[in-house]
């Protein structure tokens, strides 16, 4: 199979990595349920059932916690192998695994959690027995996260939590939420924050849906009123939550790539352009569109290979502080650029919105819906403005 971007057969990956790629590709081809792949390749989002099904299949093979080291039950892939794994899964139409457990709370537990927390939570995350979500943002605290106000007061052997989180992705599907909460009012705001693991079935928690502009229910408000959280569900020390959160944010940013997803969407874009007619001719035959498409492909190749280059540098121990913000910025912007060109390619055909029913869904690519949804990529996980601030601070101090 030719690479989506037409890379040379050799030179990018070692023979060992190529072998690994083939192994993953064969496994995915044999084991990814066809109905899931078909739905996702039409532009649908994976639902909880589909994510569970795929996680369990990978778990059997020992790959569900593909980004973890061996000592915590992962396969111990190198970072380039992880990149290959994600790419093969995404291109084949597999659902993205829940990042909040695997890539966010798990690394924090590995580094700062106690033995009991690791033994209890990590295997459950790997099997997706627990679906996690991330409770950081609050109505008044977005980019300025350290201003957060949700309070946790220690009373005997538990904390009592009051406050509100917002924009919480998947809270309505989740079993657990990891939260940043204020445990004391220090003069330096960052010092009074702690990191709590909260069971979402605890009394006093209310989850309210927020519908996004694409008409979907993906994010939520999570309200806490007198919620009792056992003290053993605090990670690390009280007041050190900001340090753990920063560690996690860095993890989140280096994980941002999503290049496999971009390649899957590029393939869809080519399909759309091949079927879309302009003045009676397929769009792909129009010079102006070919130019846009070709430019986008060159841009994606540059971003994809930059991603790979950074991974090689990190593997060789040559990290630099610009890699994470640069990667977040370019990956999120290319995702948006692809979704924008999809809408342009379909033109007026992209206009019917979330049509119901099988008949009208056939041949509907959900391009406008996804274009709306993709606006999030430059806002969440540290907005691109904040990333630019971080990068500029790294350069100018």
């Amino acid at each position: 199979m030719m690479d989506v971007l037409g890379y040379p057969e050799s030179g990018l990956f070692s023979a060992r990595e190529m072998k690994f790629r083939n192994q993953v590709r064969d496994f995915v081809a044999e084991n990814l349920p066809g109905e899931i792949a078909a739905r996702l390749k039409c532009g649908h989002h994976a639902n909880r059932g589909e994510i569970e099904q795929w996680t369990r299949i990978l778990h059997e093979r020992g790959w569900s916690a593909y980004c973890w080291p061996k000592e915590f039950g992962g396969p111990g892939f190198t970072s380039v192998e992880r990149y290959i794994f994600e790419e093969e899964c995404a291109i084949a139409g597999a659902p993205e695994l829940v990042p909040f457990g695997l890539k966010m709370v798990a690394p924090v537990l590995m580094k700062y959690g106690d033995q009991r927390q690791r033994d209890h939570f990590l295997p459950r995350i790997a099997r997706l027995d627990d679906f996690w979500c991330q409770g950081y943002s609050e109505p008044g605290s977005g980019s300025d996260l350290a201003s957060l106000k949700t309070r946790a007061v220690l009373k005997g052997d538990h904390y009592v939590v009051d406050g509100q989180k917002i924009w919480t992705t998947s809270a309505h599907d989740a079993d657990w939420i990891f939260c940043l909460v204020r445990t004391s009012n220090e003069t330096k705001r960052q010092n009074g924050i702690s990191f709590l693991l909260v069971d979402l079935s605890t009394p006093g928690i209310e989850i309210r849906p927020i519908i996004t502009l694409d008409g979907k229910h993906e994010i939520n408000e999570v309200w806490f009123e007198g919620v009792e959280v056992p003290v053993e569900n605090r990670v690390g020390e009280e007041g050190m939550g900001w340090t753990y959160a920063k560690y996690l944010l860095e993890h989140e940013r280096l994980n941002f790539g999503g290049m496999g997803f971009c390649k899957r969407e590029l393939t869809r874009l080519r399909e759309m352009a091949a079927t879309s007619l302009r003045h009676g001719r397929p769009l792909l035959e129009h010079q102006s569109f070919r130019q846009r498409l070709t430019a986008l492909e060159a841009e994606l190749a540059a971003i994809d290979l930059t991603n790979l280059r950074f991974l090689r540098e990190v593997e060789a121990g040559r990290e630099n502080p610009l890699q994470a913000p640069v990667l977040k910025i370019i990956s999120s912007e290319i995702q948006q650029a692809i979704s924008e060109l999809q809408v342009r390619a379909l033109g007026s055909k992209a206009m019917p919105f979330n049509p119901q029913g099988i008949a009208s869904n056939a041949g509907h690519y959900f391009a406008a819906e996804n274009y709306c949804n993709m606006r999030k990529t430059t806002i969440y996980a540290g907005s691109n403005e904040i990333q630019r601030n971080i990068a500029a601070k790294g350069i100018f101090g």
Partner: protein, 373 residues
Amino acid sequence: MNSIPVPTKTALPLLFEPDDTLEMLADMLSRALAGQSGGHWREELWPMLAELGLFAAVMPERYGGYGGARTAALVCRLLAGSGVVSPYAVSSAAIAPSLAELDQPAGRVTALLEALVEGRQVATIALHEVDALPVLRDFQTVLSGAGEGQWRLDGAKRMIAFAQEADWLVLPARNEAGHLVIIMLDRASFSPLLQPCTLIDSMPAADASFSGLVIDEDAIVAVGEQAESLLRGIVDRLTAAQCAEAVGAMAYMINATAEYLGVRRQFGQPLSAHQALRHRYVDMTIQQAKAETMAALAATAVDQESPEQRDRALARARYVIVRAAWFVSQESIQMHGAIGMANETPVSGYFKRLLALSLWLGDEDDALEGLIA
């Protein structure tokens, strides 16, 4: 905050020559729109527009009109700027004044014109077939003879705006000789054929398939050259009206963004204190300024210019305005942060309205190709 220039909500489109009558009209309409409660357009908006005389205003003088496409642009801009999604652009700004230009109009045209001017009825047009862009020639919908003053229609149209709610459907097709014909169908004959859907900006629309639909002679309102100039009139006026709608929606987003940047505080100061955001906000207003100019040019061109001048003005307007619409809508959501993505936040509705308008107006590449050709 005061250092950021905030366009006021009631500002007129920057037509090159200020016009007191139009300014008064704009004032009245803005005030009336502020009092609307957002009910169905037919029940709430239509009686209000009729009372203000805005159905007649866009017509030629003999119908009591004033200002032509400039008036239409003004109304469309203000409607879109208050979030209204209605058939005013297609029915009143585009179809009505174009039908009024017909020499010796058929009986049903005269009756319809009267109903349109009084705001009693609404007409729409089927411009989309299989193509991703509106089709202006080489229609695949075909009208052929079925003997004794009867005709049959075969083909399919897509995304007819407000089809379920319209009283009349203007339908371009090709006859057996390959000439353009414009057919006008009444509600009873087209409504059973509709497959409805809702568009991105919550506009109702429908697809329709015709297979051997029998049509009477008097449904054919123009053939050949006459049909071509009628279609052209409708399409050009619709383009100018949609340009004005885009400018209205952009104005809303820009105002809302300025307001939000002023009230939202992070890091102990308003967002408007960050230079990165101030510059980008100003870039939005620059796009808006150019878009305003081009919408005014488009409206003037529709009524005044030679066909060649008109094509050029409209294509340039489409190019500038569609680019501005993508830019302003994306930047506005970005500067709102997550709250801009919530369906409840008004800017998210305007974001989708601008997306829809960009798609109706067609790709900027297509506008450029038109200019090069």
